[in-house]
């Protein structure tokens, strides 16, 4: 029995020694973690990750394509007091606080004397650099408190204000601030994917869901500053567009207007200007009307600029050639007993190209009669009308194709020349861009990159081809016709020295409830791209209800000319289009695979 007892003690000793070795290893590890690593930066980062829960993440920056700051957040202090809890003499406290807060002593004294109150705000928006002084005062006087808040600042003021937008405390708003709110606040992973449907062209970057790997790691997500959003906008082109638009709107007393400049071969938005504008630094003071981004939100009847759809369809379907003769009924065409279509001037036999040069409504009706309304409708949809373009901006209007879907004689007397349907300016310029790209419909986009706070790229957007609408040779034929419109047709004032411009004018009467098409109220547009032989930029200008001239060739074309001329000069001087973009675009299949869930659910998109 005793021998057994000795043996069991030995065994116990062995077990204990083994346990002690384990303990020693554990202690060694603890020492390593607590002492050796703790003093390093990694140790501090770990603690910051823990403390982040109690710290507000500072919103990231919004930058233009050249890293110019368009919007960023600054920390500010709100200094408050609990007068009932304050033991010191209010006069002394007010005397100390006044020079730091920059508030008159009497005003502070009045607040501090309200002993029946438990909370009074002494000053909001105090500069964060005053923090050490305020902390000293907090220690000295019981009852003085402060809180750290964030304030968004926009150094360029009005510039791109509609694109930048705004987001309120309830996370509701518009523009990039709203669309990328999660990203700007640094929410990592899945929620970011929802906002970024664009795949890169490199297949290795696309994960199983079809989204791009965002390369988020724990270190990045533990940062207390949100991600930065780099836009495709160019500050200078945006400035030109805004300045010229405002000048034109004021000259012609237009109610509103918009200018969009797209990079033709990629679909990047280089400028998106709206009139009236507002200063985002004083968002609440601005007029609600002025806050709307008309380029994506405003649906209007486009007028004659829509004629490119029917004419390109006729060419692509080989129903007509540019020289096919069309009889324009000497300017008066009776469609039905009640419906008579008139042209501005009497026109007899015109070729298809001349129908566009002279912008004949009757000629365009004849074209649609020739191709058939089903084919016309198919092309309208192929060009992307009636659906959102998918640009990464909120509240995009999809337009309205009611008259196209319920086709009758009234539709025939309106839709071929851009009446009876609603489109957005962005849809319209994107449709024109089909001709500039040689027949491909691209998805326009306004976000170029998502960067972390250290400037490392987490995500880059690339152009996406939605579908081919026209054959390349038809796109070339259409380009030549549109060049003719500018060189010898209704758009002569849109000519730009040194470049061949392809463009089209459009004057659309505005319909009013109960009145119908009112005379004297028109929407005037001009859209074009240049250089016609190697398109670099596509521009649309639109002015709503301008006064003082009858045709868009007199109002919109000169505005186009000014924007295009200055933009081309800038592009040339800065070698803007140095090839840093991929030459190949993702295929349609790839695009469908990457369709974000929220578009598919709404039946929108492609």
């Amino acid at each position: 029995m005793k021998s057994k007892g000795i043996l069991s003690i030995r065994r116990l000793v062995v077990v204990l020694i083994a346990l002690q070795v384990c303990f020693l290893l554990l202690i060694g590890k603890l020492l390593f973690l607590q002492v050796i690593r703790d003093v390093s930066d990694t140790g501090r980062a770990r603690y910051s990750a823990v403390s982040r829960k109690s710290t507000k993440v500072k919103r990231g920056k919004i930058l233009d394509r050249h890293d110019t700051v368009l919007g960023l957040s600054r920390r500010t202090l709100t200094v408050s007091a609990d007068p009932a809890y304050l033991k010191a003499v209010p006069k002394d406290v007010a005397k100390c606080l006044a020079p730091i807060l920059g508030v008159p002593e009497t005003q502070l004294l009045a607040q501090l004397k309200r002993k029946n109150k438990r909370f009074v705000i002494l000053k909001r928006g105090v500069d964060y650099q005053m923090l050490p002084e305020i902390r000293e005062l907090k220690k000295r006087f019981r009852g003085i408190t402060y809180s750290v808040e964030q304030k968004r600042a926009y150094p360029k003021e009005q510039l791109a204000s509609h694109v930048i937008g705004h987001v309120n405390a309830e996370n509701v708003g518009e523009g990039i601030e709203y669309e990328y709110s999660d990203v700007l606040q640094g929410v990592p992973g899945g929620r970011l994917e929802r906002h970024l449907p664009y795949p890169t062209h490199a297949p290795s970057d696309v994960n199983q869901k079809g989204y791009v790997n965002l390369l988020f790691s724990a270190d990045e997500s533990s940062n207390d500053v949100g991600y930065n959003v780099l836009l495709t906008l160019d500050e200078y082109i945006q400035y030109i567009a805004e300045k010229e638009l405002a000048a034109a709107c004021e000259k012609w007393k237009a109610l509103r207007g918009t200018v969009i400049v797209l990079a033709s071969q990629t679909g990047e938005v280089l400028a998106m200007a709206n009139y009236p504008s507002f200063n985002p630094n004083a968002y609440t003071d601005a007029n609600e009307e002025a806050k709307r981004n008309l380029a994506v939100w405003y649906a209007y009847e486009p007028g004659s600029i829509f004629k490119i759809i029917a004419s390109s369809a006729a060419l692509n379907e080989e129903v007509m050639t540019p020289s096919t003769s069309i009889f324009c009924e000497n300017g008066r065409y009776r469609l039905s007993r009640q419906r008579v279509i008139k042209d501005v001037s009497r026109k007899g036999w015109l070729s298809l190209a001349e129908v566009l040069y002279k912008s004949s409504n009757i000629g365009m009706i004849k074209v649609v009669q020739e191709i058939g309304h089903e084919c016309f409708r198919a092309y309208i949809e192929k060009y992307g009308f009636g659906r959102r373009t998918g640009i990464d901006l909120p509240h995009e209007h999809s337009g309205n194709l009611y008259a196209v879907k319920r086709w009758d004689s009234n539709s025939l007397g309106a839709v071929p020349f851009g009446q009876g349907i609603l489109v957005t300016p962005l849809q319209m310029v994107n449709a024109l861009n089909v001709i500039a790209t040689g027949g491909k419909l691209l998805r326009p986009y306004i976000t170029r990159e998502i960067l972390d706070s250290h400037g490392r790229s987490l995500k880059r957007m690339y152009p996406i081809e939605i579908r081919r609408v026209l054959r390349p040779e038809i796109a070339r034929q259409m380009t030549e016709i549109l060049v003719g419109v500018v060189e010898g047709g209704s758009g002569r004032r849109g000519r730009v020295e040194g470049y061949r411009v392809a463009g089209k004018t459009g004057t659309a009467q505005k319909a009013e409830k109960g009145v119908g098409y009112a005379s004297g109220k028109e929407t005037m547009s001009f859209m074009g791209f240049l250089p016609a032989d190697n398109p670099q930029i596509s521009i649309l200008v639109m002015l709503d209800e301008p006064t003082g001239a009858r045709f868009s060739g007199q109002i919109a074309a000169p505005l186009f000319q000014k924007v295009a001329e200055q933009t081309m000069r800038y592009l040339k001087q800065t070698d803007f289009f140095t090839p840093d973009l991929p030459t190949t675009l993702p295929t349609v299949t790839e695009l469908q695979r990457t369709q974000p869930r929220h578009y598919a659910a709404e039946g929108e998109g492609l």
Binding site: I17, V35, K61, Y236
Partner: protein, 107 residues
């Protein structure tokens, strides 16, 4: 024979046992181990406490510097804005270089 051998061996073991019992090194090791463990717990909590106490100060310092950088960025963005540069150009009566002038300059 067998029984006497068993007796002898049992006797010799009983004679050795009091010496082994008098050296309870196992308890010393256990005690030491406990002390080290307790020490490590104390030290780790102390280290963490110190770190957490220092954290807000580090954080404030970081925010302070961040804010200063952002303020400078704001000022820089305001200074380099196209509008301001254009107004300065107008004020100073400067003109943009012509195409010919630019070509000469580039040469």
């Amino acid at each position: 024979m067998q029984s006497s051998h068993q007796y002898t061996s049992r006797k010799s073991k009983t004679a050795e046992s009091p010496r082994k019992r008098s050296f309870p090194y196992i308890y010393i090791v256990l005690g030491l181990c406990f002390c080290i463990f307790a020490g490590s717990v104390w030290f780790s909590s102390y280290a963490k406490n110190v770190a957490l106490q220092r954290m807000p100060a580090y954080q404030r310092q970081k925010h302070y510097i961040q804010d200063e950088i952002h303020q400078l960025e704001l000022e820089e963005a305001a200074l380099t804005s196209v509008e301001r540069i254009r107004s300065l150009v107008d004020e100073l009566g400067l003109v943009e270089p012509s195409e010919a002038a630019r070509r000469i300059y580039e040469k």
